[in-house]
């Protein structure tokens, strides 16, 4: 299930990117399965095709899917070890998230507990 909030400040292509990342991690889109064709998803959402296309290209650039001329966007298996370039970006993201948690007054234990919980539901345990 993908949920897009049309009243949100966040652009629809960013929301789509994030929703797909969550769906991949939760195993809702199995490895090697195709994402819906750009046209069909755009029609289902009632948005321009370029919006969906942009989200798919973001997913490709992040390495989560490969885009094939015949089969469209296909889900890649999760990496077994992190890429050097991605690691830097991830450090910045998590720093921001931790900073926000600190400012919001969320205790350290809760942050760590929630991270572990999420990682485990995403299949992190098996690896």
């Amino acid at each position: 299930m993908i949920s897009i909030d049309f009243s949100s400040e966040k652009p629809i292509y960013t929301q789509l990117f994030e929703q797909f990342v969550l769906a991949f991690a939760r195993g809702e889109c199995p490895v090697d399965s195709s994402l819906p064709p750009v046209r069909a998803l755009a029609a289902e959402l009632g948005v321009n095709m370029h919006t969906v296309n942009k989200a798919y290209h973001l997913l490709r650039d992040a390495g989560y899917v490969k885009i094939d001329r015949r089969h469209g966007a296909i889900v890649n298996p999760p990496r077994t070890e992190p890429a050097a370039s991605g690691l830097e970006e991830w450090r910045a993201d998590i720093e921001l998230l931790v900073a926000q948690s600190y400012l919001q007054g969320i205790p350290q234990e809760q942050v760590v507990k929630n991270v572990i919980e999420h990682y485990q539901t995403f299949g992190g345990v098996q690896r």
Partner: protein, 368 residues
């Protein structure tokens, strides 16, 4: 009064009843809407709401009485001007009822603007990826199935072009209920190719529309796609059934033209049952779907659809959204779907449908 006058009067009354049921009742209108305006769970002042309903009922009744009088009094005069002017009251009815709808819609809009607490429609759209895959699968299947009648009608047309000289000098143009020929005309290209060309055009049109059926945004809400799937399948089956009906009609008229024989009785039976079955299927599932929509708890506003946004609607009737890639959307006002005039295909479809009508009207006016 002649039999034709009675038929016309009955048609006017029947159209009024259909109009009244679809627009006045909330059974057919999309969820949380009234006269094409989103009401949501907001509390509407009962007195103003009743006044709105009363205004709608009375305008409808007055127009109906006026039309009936006009139909009875003016038909002989209209017929004396031109035979096709006889149906003028029916066209007038369509125009006047549209005006009544637009007027009530505007009043409802004003009422909404005066509400102290505005309704808040859902802004989140949930997309069930499995349901989307299901829709894509069936879209492919039905597109392939629709190519069969298209192929048959095209080949039939081609066959008649090649074998035109072999067609007898007298060709049948009308058959009675038993399939026996009851009218002939002298052979002319128009009479030979019109009964084949019209089904051909419609079959191709249905092929294109059939593809768009699976783009309809009919999801009721997260996790309730059962009625949506049956509605989509029923619409597709109905469309395909009608397409096959037209194909069989084209085949039978071609057969009757070439052999000068009556329509085969068995074919006629199959054709009629096909038409009836398609109609019953569509009506049944449509009612089921609307029931499922109305049975949803009031607090569930469902999932956001871009066509629920009133900014894209003109007079609560015309949907214009250039960023929406979908050709058909559910109407604001009641039963059925309308085209997206922001889509190039929507513009083309409207032109294809209206240009012949305009051309015929122009021809009539010019020849009077």
């Amino acid at each position: 009064m002649s039999e034709q006058d009675w038929v016309q009067l009955m048609t006017i009354v029947l159209m009024s009843v259909i109009f009244f049921i679809t627009y006045h009742s909330t059974t057919f209108a999309p969820r949380h809407t009234l006269y094409g305006v989103f009401v949501g769970d907001a509390e509407w002042p009962t007195d103003r709401l009743n006044r709105l309903h009363r205004q709608f009922r009375w305008s409808l009744l007055w127009v109906l009485i006026m039309l009936m009088v006009f139909s009875v009094a003016a038909t002989p005069w209209l017929a004396s001007v031109h035979v096709s002017f006889v149906s003028a009251p029916l066209i007038l009815q369509w125009v006047l009822y549209s005006l009544i709808y637009v007027r009530t819609h505007s009043s409802a809009k004003r009422l909404l603007a005066d509400l102290p607490t505005k309704p808040t429609p859902s802004t989140v759209r949930h997309v069930d990826l499995a349901f989307l895959q299901w829709k894509i699968k069936w879209q492919v299947i039905f597109t392939r199935l629709h190519s069969l009648p298209a192929l048959v009608t095209v080949s039939l047309f081609g066959y008649m072009v090649v074998h035109y000289p072999k067609v007898p000098e007298q060709i049948p143009t009308h058959w009675n209920g038993l399939g026996q020929i009851d009218a002939y005309v002298n052979k002319e290209p128009f009479f030979v190719f019109f009964p084949l060309g019209l089904p051909l055009l419609l079959v191709v049109l249905f092929w294109l529309i059939g593809r768009s059926v699976f783009r309809l945004r009919v999801t009721l809400g997260p996790g309730s796609n059962r009625h949506a799937t049956s509605l989509l399948l029923a619409l597709s089956i109905g469309l395909l059934g009608f397409s096959l009906f037209l194909t069989m009609f084209a085949c039978m008229s071609a057969y009757s033209m070439v052999t000068s024989g009556d329509l085969p009785r068995a074919w006629l039976m199959i054709e009629l049952s096909l038409l009836l079955a398609s109609l019953v299927t569509v009506v049944y599932y449509f009612i089921q779907y609307r029931r499922a929509v109305n049975a949803m708890p009031k607090e569930v506003t469902g999932t956001y659809r871009v066509e629920d946004d009133h900014r894209y609607w003109k007079w609560g009737m015309f949907y214009h959204n250039p960023t929406d890639p979908v050709l058909f959307v559910e109407k604001r006002d009641g039963a059925g779907w309308t085209v997206n005039t922001g889509h190039w295909k929507g513009k083309l479809l409207l032109m294809v449908l209206f240009l012949p009508v305009l051309a015929i009207m122009l021809l009539i006016v010019l020849t009077v």
